[in-house]
């Protein structure tokens, strides 16, 4: 038996000495640390949630400002949002965009490069860097980043984003007059485009913008396969065919387009011109010999009139000499005054003489042209139209039709 005074002391002492043993102390400290860790984890996560909610609110306000064209104010909100959610990718990206929109390109680039280092495959970052490079006129870098954006990773609706990036790149290349590169991008894009009329129409318009009318026509035709009454596609196809000097095809599409949308004046004008071309072309298939000769005579007369008008404007005077009874009056033409268009004037004078010389053959009543004569008459007509365009500007009406035929004699589908 222990003494009553001692007995309570002994367990107390032994407990105290036990608690003072290093392994016990280390264990107690470890447990305390774990508990404290858990408590702080809870505290931090709660606080972080609050901060993130605050950041979302600030970000939304910034986004509203950005959408309303107030990037300066948006920057303040985005910065504040980033204070509460420092590493957020989207906030940084939006801040970089807002900075770019306010012309702070260096700062914007700094943010974007940070993001790019974190995620070089991110489509949105690459697109933003591409736009920044466009703004700063760094073409090679812009193409590089646009390509990255085209083949990069997008969180939402990746196909649309990639396509839009590629459209943007093509647009940029077009503005840079990098036609072959833009065409190559367009052809790649065309191969992967889903069958959506809007996209195909947009693609066709871009081909058209680049002057690639064959591809443009092809894309419009694809649209029309699904929707024959698509006025935009019809007008586009008509214009593409017209620019390709395929006036028959153009007339077909343009006529339908005008029927569907008579208010489209541009289409109407093109249609009118296409029809004039088809009506005046003497070499179009299925035209009888008399009709052909008739067209040649009309073309010759019209060209003569255009030539004289232009010659007068250029100050070219004619000296008439009386010829034989059979032949028409013969004139020699001289350039009265020197002008900046001297070479053009000399050419016009020469053409006038040629025209006058040929007039007797063409004007003969009941003349039937041999094919080589027909060719030489129309050659002169085409020369006159081309030369007068240089000296006196773009013609209208029948002259315009003749000029178009002159520009591409072999391109007309007859």
């Amino acid at each position: 038996m222990y003494d009553s005074d001692v007995s309570p002391e002994v367990p107390h002492r032994s407990l105290k000495s036990l608690l003072r043993r290093p392994p016990i102390i280390i264990s107690l400290l470890s447990i305390t640390a774990v508990l404290a860790f858990l408590a702080v984890t809870h505290l931090v996560s709660r606080f972080r949630e609050q901060e993130k909610a605050l950041a979302r609110h600030l970000y939304a306000q910034g986004q509203m400002d950005l959408d309303s064209g107030r990037p300066d104010r948006a920057i303040g909100y985005f910065r504040a949002a980033l204070t509460y959610n420092r590493g957020d990718f989207q906030y940084q990206l939006s801040l970089a965009r807002a900075l770019r929109d306010t012309g702070r390109t260096d700062e914007s680039k700094s943010y974007l490069m940070n993001l790019w280092e974190r995620s070089p495959e991110d489509g949105a970052v690459n697109l933003a860097l591409g736009r920044l490079a466009v703004r700063e006129g760094r073409t090679d870098e812009a193409i590089h980043y646009y390509h990255n954006a085209t083949y990069g990773i997008w969180d939402l609706d990746p196909e649309t984003h990639r396509r839009n990036a590629q459209f943007e790149l093509i647009d940029f290349l077009s503005r840079q007059n990098a036609r072959p590169q833009a065409q190559a991008e367009l052809i790649t894009l065309a191969a992967s485009l889903p069958p959506e009329p809007e996209l195909e129409t947009r693609l066709a318009q871009m081909f058209e913008g680049l002057g690639d009318y064959e591809h443009a026509l092809s894309e419009y035709q694809t649209v029309l396969e699904h929707d024959r009454q698509n006025a935009v596609a019809l007008a586009g196809a008509g214009e593409a065919a017209f620019r390709s000097h395929r006036y028959g095809t153009a007339e077909k599409y343009l006529a339908t387009a005008v029927r569907l949308d008579p208010s489209n004046s541009k289409t109407s004008e093109l249609l009118q011109t296409a029809r004039l071309v088809l009506e005046i072309d003497p070499f179009v298939r299925g035209v009888s010999t008399s009709e052909r000769d008739q067209r040649i005579k009309i073309s010759f007369d019209r060209a003569g009139a255009r030539l004289r008008e232009c010659a007068e404007k250029q100050g070219i005077a004619g000296n008439t000499t009386k010829g034989s009874e059979e032949s028409a009056d013969t004139k020699s033409y001289v350039v009265k005054s020197a002008s900046p268009n001297d070479s053009s004037s000399v050419g016009l004078a020469s053409l006038l003489q040629d025209w006058t010389a040929m007039k007797s053959k063409v004007s003969r009543r009941g003349a039937i042209f041999e094919s080589d004569v027909a060719e030489s008459v129309m050659d002169l007509v085409f020369q006159i139209e081309l030369q007068t365009q240089k000296g006196c500007g773009d013609p209208v009406g029948l002259d315009q039709a003749l000029l178009l035929l002159a520009q591409d004699r072999n391109g007309v589908d007859r």
């Binding site: 102390i25 640390a33 404290a36 702080v40 605050l54 204070t83 420092r86 700062e107």
Partner: protein, 592 residues
């Protein structure tokens, strides 16, 4: 290590003495047997383990402290500080009144930054910092900084860490020596957690608090700093505080631009330090009742600065430093903010509001660096490749070196907060210029100045660093008596000393040990008929201590009383006598 004689038995039978640590660093195991770490668990090992726990707890405390500051700021001033908001006037004033009451009545130990308080604990109070100080510092500093006072969380974190460590050490019943050292260990942990920069924290504590490199404590300081940083990174992320692009100096002449920044920064540091030195004692000399209102008045003025267009100077201002690095401000605005921050911080600090000076120093440095960089690029833009961010970051280091006078910490701090090593050369150059200039214009460093104003004579680390240390070679003299050999007979030795006036002679033992023999002992041996015996056989086995010429003179003081003269020998050959030193020699050198 110990300061007890260390026998170098592998080389010779003499006992050598290495420069030792102060007694505080010695183990107390043998002296205080009631400590539980006897036996298998030595206190040294336990101290190391405890350092890890100090780091963990300090890290957790600092995480909570930073959340408290952020929460207070959002709750009191709103998520975005905007000029012309009335809260900017009301909140700092009202909260400062509350803080003043708490400081005067509940937590009187929490005034100031916390660095000197930790030094006081180390040098005056045997490592004792009341746990109440940690709580008080936490609450009052969070309130003050959150309400917009121009102060930072780093120095309070340092003090909170030190206070936690001290409390833990007392609870563990550590020896007084260990308890004294635990406060700096906690300080390093707190600072490392606040900066998310372990190297800088360790360096700062070594440079400014402990004052010397000591292997005995270095391990613990590093362990605690690293473990606290791990905790902070776990909760708050591991990304560096600031991000700047890597810099490439196009030509070495660009360094002149950074040296110029060092010059401007050095002058700004002196202005900042002199402002605090001028206002602090004057404000403290005002009647006691004014101390209730001094923080409030400071808060009101700072609030007015914010209200009328510069809310950036309120609080620690880290987000604005980041903005400065990203070209958000013109150089004129940056210069204005630097000037306003000096005023605001001087007001906050000298009014006795609890909070640190690290963050404001960095803020002023960043703004000044950005301003100087902007101005330089305006004039010599084509020749300079550094961005505003680069100059702002270098500016931070410059103020740190010039104002806080911690040159090594200032370099590593810049590297750690940016994670960018490429900036090191400009930082070293600019910091050196600022440090040298500041030291020549303001001889007393700010922390020493503050402790002297408080009536404390804490050791000045800068003075210690630059102290002209007396060495043994400065006091030793050549031996004017023959050196005897242990193989000589007593008779031979006696004959050789006849011409000498000395009474004590050194005896060289093979291969290199030393003993001493007196004239009297030789005579006695002769009288006893030991004339043919060798000196080695009649002398005791206990060798003399030996010293080396390069050792500090105070080391000699510990041994000169053990014998008449102490041999000073070459480090390369212990048998080669360079001279001797006695207590008279030491004292006469000190008297000079």
């Amino acid at each position: 290590m110990s300061d007890l004689p260390q026998a170098d038995s592998s080389r010779n039978d003499a006992v050598t003495f290495a420069p030792s640590l102060p007694s505080s660093a010695t183990s107390s195991v043998a002296r205080i047997p009631r400590y539980p770490w006897q036996g298998t668990f030595r206190e040294d090992r336990f101290f190391l383990m405890l350092a890890v726990f100090v780091g963990l707890f300090s890290g957790l405390a600092v995480v909570c402290f930073r959340l408290a500051i952020d929460w207070t700021r959002i709750a009191l001033l709103g998520p975005v500080l905007q000029a012309h908001d009335l809260r900017l006037l009301v909140v700092p004033t009202a909260v400062s009144l509350l803080v003043a009451i708490l400081v005067i009545h509940v937590f009187p130990q929490v005034r100031g930054s916390g660095v000197n308080q930790t030094k006081s604990a180390l040098y005056i109070f045997n490592g004792y910092i009341p746990f109440r100080t940690a709580i008080g510092k936490f609450v009052t500093a969070a309130l003050a900084i959150g309400a917009g006072h121009s102060l930072g969380p780093e120095d309070p974190s340092l003090q909170i860490g030190a206070s936690l460590a001290s409390a833990l050490g007392r609870r563990m019943e550590l020896s007084r020596e260990k308890l004294r050292l635990l406060a700096p260990v906690g300080a390093a942990a707190g600072l490392a957690a606040a900066f998310n920069a372990p190297i800088s924290a360790v360096l700062f504590v070594i440079e400014e608090v402990i004052g010397r490199w000591s292997a005995g404590i270095l391990g613990s300081v590093v362990l605690s700093a690293v473990s606290s940083v791990v905790v902070v990174r776990w909760f708050l992320g591991s990304q560096p505080l600031f991000r700047i692009p890597a810099i490439t100096l196009a030509r070495p002449s660009e360094l002149i631009a950074y040296a110029l920044l060092g010059l401007v920064g050095g002058i700004a540091s002196v202005i900042f330090a002199k402002s605090i030195a001028y206002f602090r004692p004057r404000l403290r000399a005002l009647p006691h009742w004014t101390q209730y209102f001094q923080p409030a008045a400071a808060g009101l003025i700072i609030g007015m600065i914010g209200y009328f267009g510069a809310p950036q100077v309120m609080g620690a201002g880290y987000e604005y430093m980041d903005q400065a690095m990203h070209d958000q401000f013109t150089w004129q605005m940056l210069a204005t903010l630097a000037g306003l921050k000096i005023i605001a911080t001087t007001l906050s600090f000298t009014s006795g509001t609890p909070g640190g000076m690290f963050a404001p120093t960095l803020f002023i440095g960043a703004m000044l660096g950005g301003a100087v960089g902007g101005l330089e690029r305006h004039f010599w833009g084509a020749h300079l490749t550094g961005s505003t961010g680069t100059y702002a970051l270098v500016g931070m280091g410059v103020l740190f070196a010039g104002f806080l006078r911690a040159p090594m910490t200032s370099v590593f701090m810049v590297l750690e907060v940016s994670g960018e090593y490429s900036i090191i050369v400009p930082v070293i150059i600019a910091n050196t210029v600022a440090y040298v200039l500041s030291r020549s214009l303001q001889p007393v460093p700010i922390f020493d100045l503050l402790s002297r104003q408080d009536g404390l004579d804490l050791p000045s680390m800068e003075e210690q660093r630059e102290e002209n240390l007396l060495r043994i070679e400065d006091a030793m003299r050549q031996l004017d008596a023959p050196i005897l050999d242990s193989r000589e007979s007593v008779q031979q030795a006696n004959e050789r000393i006849q011409q000498s006036a000395s009474d004590v002679f050194l005896v060289r033992f093979n291969p290199s040990g030393w003993r001493s023999v007196t004239r009297e002992l030789l005579q006695t041996s002769l009288d006893e008929g030991k004339a043919e015996l060798t000196l080695g056989s009649i002398l005791s086995a206990q060798p003399l201590p030996v010293l080396h010429p390069d050792l500090p003179l105070d080391v000699a003081l510990r041994y000169v009383n053990q014998t008449d003269v102490v041999p000073v020998v070459s480090r390369a050959d212990f048998g080669k006598l360079e001279g001797v030193i006695s207590s008279e020699d030491v004292l006469s050198r000190y008297r000079r």
